[in-house]
Amino acid sequence: MTNVISEIKKDFIYNLLLKGERADGRTFDQYREISIQRDVIRKAEGSALVKLGSSQVLVGVKMQPGEPFPDSPNRGVIITNAELVPLASPSFEPGPPNEVGIELARLVDRGVRESKAVDLEALCIVPGKQVWIVFIDVHILDDCGNILDAASLGAISALLCTKVPASKFGLGEDYILPIRDLPIATSAIEFNDVLMFDPGVDEEAIANTKLTIISTIEGNICGTQKSGTGMLKPEQVYRIIDIACEKAKEIREKFLEA
């Protein structure tokens, strides 16, 4: 939403919207083409390159033994980080993560954590002393809009092919990290009471409200976040939830359960 967009482009998108159309010919609830390549980084325990239209996000998972948190001595730890590296967009700058990057990482984390996709208790090695720490690192490579949904999809895809590197640390045989849920984030922007899913970068620039819904296999909601400086009516929220859960189901069946 910090992208500079010319008034002409804005008018163009707005006028299309009044006719019920989008610049790339999609319907309002249609996602761009999705592709997921898993295990693209050999050095990582798990990885996935997600393309959502032209947006590209690479997620790598690394694991190592470490100390548990004092308040959860027999649980593994998940640490999610996101890098909005400057090669991905003219509006990204080098340096420590800004609030956009932090929010993105925390939302990816929320999906994995709140859906209980990773069985943290199974990651305990010695209670109170040693547990597995799972680092989920999100690298945005090309921001053509809706990088949050792509990052979230990348995280769960990478986790699905993560091998726990036990032998490297003398802790027995390597094994596949068990995954119990498949959280999917779906985001929509609101503009003039039109709800547009999977917004492109120009669409994100005209709207000032976005709602993200993260849903589980069961069709329950495990996380939401409104961002941007606009407002939403409760009815709009409920409409987004209904469509979001449907979309999430489609994406999950097509790309994760296969």
Partner: protein, 248 residues
């Protein structure tokens, strides 16, 4: 400790004796800081939060200036002693996120176009935390903005709903937040336009809807308290003797 170890309801009432749809006591005081342009102190249950507004004033650093409107900055900060285990002072990732969403909860009602090239700074300090600090902070900040005389389209009121022992509850307290099943904070205008919505945990779409409705009801009640707090302060000022004193 696990969520199963706690009994959240006794005779249909919660750990602190509230009904499922009842708010904790709320106390709001307007204009508690002398240096700030506007300020507010709020207690929501065990939360003690103070908010200050400075501005509109010049933007530093200057490259942040916007030619057509004021920018709004919001800093949510927790005192190190506000929680059970001492919190390391300074911003962490959580407070960055909360600052962002809280700012975005207030910005929709602030008439920023009245003050091009300036900044409206909102500072929120959590002095004592007891679940619901972001909602308390937003409630205090909205009142402090009004106290600072910042033109706004409406008030913003914020409240959370949660789920404990498969029941939707209003305004979760610490135990319910820590060991409950979901937390859904919202902020809204008195008209019911939602400006903040976050959720974590697990809710079915139907529970989600009920939680939103319950949180909105809570926010409406808080709006009345905010309004009354402002009326209490400013009705005194309309007393002619007092106005004269202020003018002198």
């Amino acid at each position: 400790m696990d969520e199963t170890d706690i009994t959240f309801f006794k005779d249909g009432l919660r750990l602190d004796g509230r009904r499922a749809d009842q708010l904790r006591p709320v106390k709001i005081e307007v204009g508690v800081l002398a240096r700030a342009d506007g300020s507010c102190y709020i207690e929501m249950g065990g939360n003690k939060v103070i908010a200050a507004v400075y501005g509109p004033r010049e933007v530093h650093p200057r490259h942040l200036q916007e030619v057509s409107r004021a920018i709004v900055r919001y800093r949510y900060n927790m005192a190190s002693f506000s929680v059970e285990e001492r919190k390391r002072p300074g911003p962490d990732r959580r407070s960055y996120e909360l600052s962002k969403v809280s700012r975005e909860a207030l910005e929709p009602v602030i008439l920023t176009s009245f003050f091009p090239r300036s900044v409206i700074d909102v500072f929120v300090e959590v002095l004592q935390a007891d679940a619901g600090t972001r909602t308390a902070g937003i409630n205090a900040a909205a009142v402090a903005l009004a106290d600072a005389g910042i033109p706004m389209k409406s008030m913003i009121s914020s409240c959370a709903a949660g789920k404990v022992a498969d029941t939707i509850v209003l305004d979760p307290m610490k135990e319910e937040d820590n060991f409950g099943q979901a937390d859904l904070p919202i902020a809204m205008t008195p008209n019911g336009d939602i400006t903040l919505m976050q959720m974590d945990g697990g809710l079915t779409p139907d529970e989600f809807r009920r939680a939103v409705e319950m949180a909105m009801k809570g926010a409406r009640d808080i709006y009345e308290i905010q309004r009354q707090a402002l009326v209490n302060k400013y009705s005194q000022l309309t007393d002619p003797g007092h106005v004269e004193a202020v003018v002198q």
